[in-house]
């Protein structure tokens, strides 16, 4: 441990999964195609996406979030949901920037590396909405699944596995088709739940193994 740095509570280095990646995204219907693209894309790079919705239980939400961030080597944050939502009282969503702040704080204070990447839908908007992180590279996805896949290939350019956007689109198509069946099978309308999330990740990994040669 570097001098002058305080060890974080409940420090467990062995608990870090080098391929686990925490995803911090808005859980709404409009974001669903991008959510599927993110799962497909990350699995195409040999990573395992983790999200707060996969952990059921009575634990405080904040504790769950922080525990997940600590166990993941990387975290990806989407800060595109800055608009006021339509339901009254009309408010923007602060969860994503808040969790980004937690990840940045963890990356700065922990004595093990933690990488964080930020995604946005519109270019230059973050300079207005979250200017504190100016100077950091922001990946723009344009609110389109192919944009997410393209942004991932840029963000993970130094990855050992380098699937093409075409290959990632193949995985995305499989995940999208399977999502319909999973919804029907689990009698649910939402994919933002523990079981659908886990099954989508497993399916995306199965598909990635078939489509990306280096993952076999």
């Amino acid at each position: 441990m570097k001098p002058g740095r305080r060890r974080a509570p409940n420090y467990k280095p062995s608990g870090v999964d080098p391929r686990a990646l925490f995803i911090n995204i808005p859980y709404d219907d409009d974001f669903e195609p991008l959510y599927l693209a993110l799962i497909a894309g990350l699995c195409g790079f040999g990573l395992t996406p983790r999200a707060t919705l996969e952990i059921p239980g009575s634990q405080r939400r904040l504790d769950r979030i922080f525990r997940l961030i600590r166990t993941c080597r990387y975290s990806f944050h989407d800060i595109s949901r800055v608009e006021l939502d339509l339901n009254r009282p009309r408010t923007p969503r602060f969860n994503m920037p808040f969790e980004l702040g937690l990840a940045v704080a963890w990356a700065r204070t922990a004595d093990r590396p933690h990488g964080w990447v930020v995604f946005e839908a519109k270019r230059h908007r973050q300079q207005k909405s979250l200017s504190d992180i100016n100077g950091t590279e922001i990946y723009i996805h344009g609110a389109r699944p192919v944009g997410v896949l393209r942004a991932l290939t840029n963000a993970l350019e130094k990855s050992r596995h380098r699937p093409t956007v075409q290959q990632l689109q193949g995985i995305y198509r499989d995940v999208r088709a399977a999502a319909v069946r999973i919804k029907r099978d689990l009698a649910t309308k939402s994919l933002y739940d523990t079981r659908p999330f886990r099954e989508l990740v497993t399916l995306a990994q199965l598909s990635a193994r078939r489509r990306v040669a280096s993952l076999r």
Binding site: G115, L156, S159, E199, L203, Q205, L215
Partner: protein, 93 residues
């Protein structure tokens, strides 16, 4: 830009981490096979249109995208011909 090394997490390991049973993993594998099979068995016109990045709207009614385009042009030509004929008739009245 981040660097990700290492191999690939085995699906079995992920399933175990997530608490997904082996039978459910088998179901997911079968679902994936079914999706691929379905895609392979789709009509040739639809497959070709998709591969060319064109709309499958016309392929679905049994026409190739090129034929659909020709047909649209033909119908536009027909309308234009009708208009010209009508104008000519008005002139000769």
């Amino acid at each position: 830009m981040i660097h990700v090394g290492g191999g690939f997490p085995s699906v079995e390991k992920t399933a175990a981490t997530f608490g997904i049973s082996k039978s459910r993993v088998r179901w997911l594998t079968a679902l994936l096979d079914e999706i691929e099979q379905g895609r392979a068995n789709s009509p040739r016109r639809i497959r070709k249109a998709k591969m060319a990045g064109l709309s499958t709207r016309y392929a679905r009614v049994g026409r190739s995208p090129v034929a659909a385009s020709k047909s649209r042009a033909a119908s536009r030509a027909k309308v234009s011909r009708r208009k010209k004929t009508a104008r000519r008739r008005r002139r000769t009245l």
